[in-house]
């Protein structure tokens, strides 16, 4: 669990977008996990089990307290993430700008993006964490990455085709 702390913090930060809230969330998740270790099933992905606990805590309490609203973006309409190409640059992108762009994504897209691209979870494990079908996870992830590219580089020429449900498996 110690070794997982940095990744839990990154995931919590992606959800809450606040460092203080993120660490509170990680602490609560660790306490919850330690008190319910007996419910962990041997042979399953421990990382995903922890991430799921954290995410559920976020959904159940922290988010409500912050007054955030879940917007589940599953239709093919793009979220207007771009900032008029202001952050677009042909030079190396400051990582800060990338994080800012990620933070403007809808929560469900942020979550899946960080789980897969930062934490390195498989699509299947990410689906377990988010309690969503794998096709939905893939659809959100593809949309999140297209929006991110669009925001960072004014990559308007990449409209996504309507999602092919459960496409790749």
């Amino acid at each position: 669990m110690v070794a997982l702390l940095p990744r839990l913090r990154a995931f919590a930060l992606a959800l809450s977008r606040s460092r203080t809230d993120a660490d509170d969330l990680v602490q609560a998740a660790c306490e919850r996990a330690l008190s319910s270790l007996s419910t962990y099933r041997e042979g399953t992905n421990f990382d995903a089990w922890m991430m799921r606990i954290l995410r559920n805590l976020w959904i159940d309490g922290y988010r409500r307290r912050k007054g955030e609203v879940l917007i589940d973006i599953t239709d093919p309409v793009h979220d207007p993430v771009g900032q008029d190409g202001r952050v677009a640059t042909e030079a190396r992108m400051a990582l800060n700008s990338v994080r800012q762009a990620i933070e403007t994504l809808p929560e469900e897209q942020r979550a899946v993006l960080v789980l897969v691209c930062v934490d390195g979870l498989s699509y299947r494990d990410a689906a377990h964490v988010l309690d969503a079908p794998i096709g939905t996870v893939m659809s959100r992830l593809a949309r999140a990455r297209a929006s991110l590219a669009n925001a960072l580089e004014g990559n308007a020429g990449l409209p996504l085709r309507p999602a092919g449900r459960e496409a790749a498996r």
Binding site: A3, P6, L148, R161
Partner: protein
């Protein structure tokens, strides 16, 4: 040309290595023929890379002490069924790929616990601290001698603590990119109060303790429960040092002799 349309999800799964071989071959062929698909594939790869980089500071910075204390401090004994015991020599440690964040994390753990090098653990007398759990205060020639010569898997007395005998067990020996490292376990009074797990490395001028973590009671016998986060911390540190698997008895003997023993 392929028979079916390559969706964005298929393309992304191909880039992420999450696609079966036959579909992957189909997608690869489609990318080769279609510049637009190639551009999208590149976008999926680039956004993955950028996302990982965007959180690199969070992944590598020291974890706040309060989080470490939450995990390391009051961890209850595992409640599930007993696991199959691992031999002391193996120490549950197996080589894994070393994540980029593991070195700063390990350094952070050492820092958080206020540990330096070349010292041995001694109770600090604080009533809030369980016996055998706390600070490093004085040098212990016996511990340094044990690190230099004692074979893995053997427990030997190094000192006494208020009448109770303190034992050091060498758990494993590893070659790392910075020198020979040995993990050890110090227990007092049979280990019923827990103990301290540590790692000492010889970087050319004798062994110095680089990491020591309080181990929960019940985890410090010859068996190591998989949930022992003290052992996990040692593992993470070893990963960060790109350690070899634990040396066997003969390899260990040779390594100790070549390292000059002391």
């Amino acid at each position: 040309m392929t028979d079916r349309k390559v969706t964005d999800e298929m393309l992304m799964a191909f880039v992420d290595g999450e696609i079966d071989a036959s579909t992957g071959a189909e997608v690869a062929e489609a990318i080769r023929r279609d510049a637009e698909l190639a551009r999208k594939a590149e976008m999926f790869g680039r956004t993955r890379q950028l996302s990982a980089g965007a959180y690199a500071d969070v992944l590598s910075e020291p974890v706040p002490n309060r989080l470490l204390e939450t995990v390391l401090g009051e961890q209850p004994a595992p409640q599930n069924t007993p696991r199959s015991p691992a031999p002391l020599q193996a120490a549950r440690y197996q080589r894994r790929s070393a994540p980029a964040w593991s070195l700063p994390l390990a350094a952070c753990i050492a820092l958080a616990l206020g540990l330096g090098g070349g010292y041995v653990l001694r109770d600090d007398g604080s009533p809030a601290s369980p016996p055998g759990s706390t600070a490093l205060i004085e040098e212990a020639p016996e511990l340094l001698a044990a690190l230099a010569t004692q074979p893995s898997g053997e427990a030997r007395p190094i000192s006494t603590d208020g009448g109770a005998q303190r034992l050091v067990s060498i758990v494993g020996t590893y070659r790392t990119e910075t020198g020979l490292c040995r993990s050890f376990l110090i227990t007092t009074g049979g280990g019923s109060n827990g103990g301290v797990r540590g790692l000492a490395c010889n970087r050319g001028s004798g062994y110095r303790i680089e990491l020591a973590v309080r181990a929960p009671a019940g985890s410090t016998g010859t068996f190591t429960p998989a949930s022992d986060s003290a052992a996990s911390a040692i593992d993470s540190y070893l990963d960060a040092l790109h350690a070899s698997p634990a040396l066997d008895r003969q390899q260990e003997e040779d390594a100790l002799q070549n390292a000059g023993g002391k």
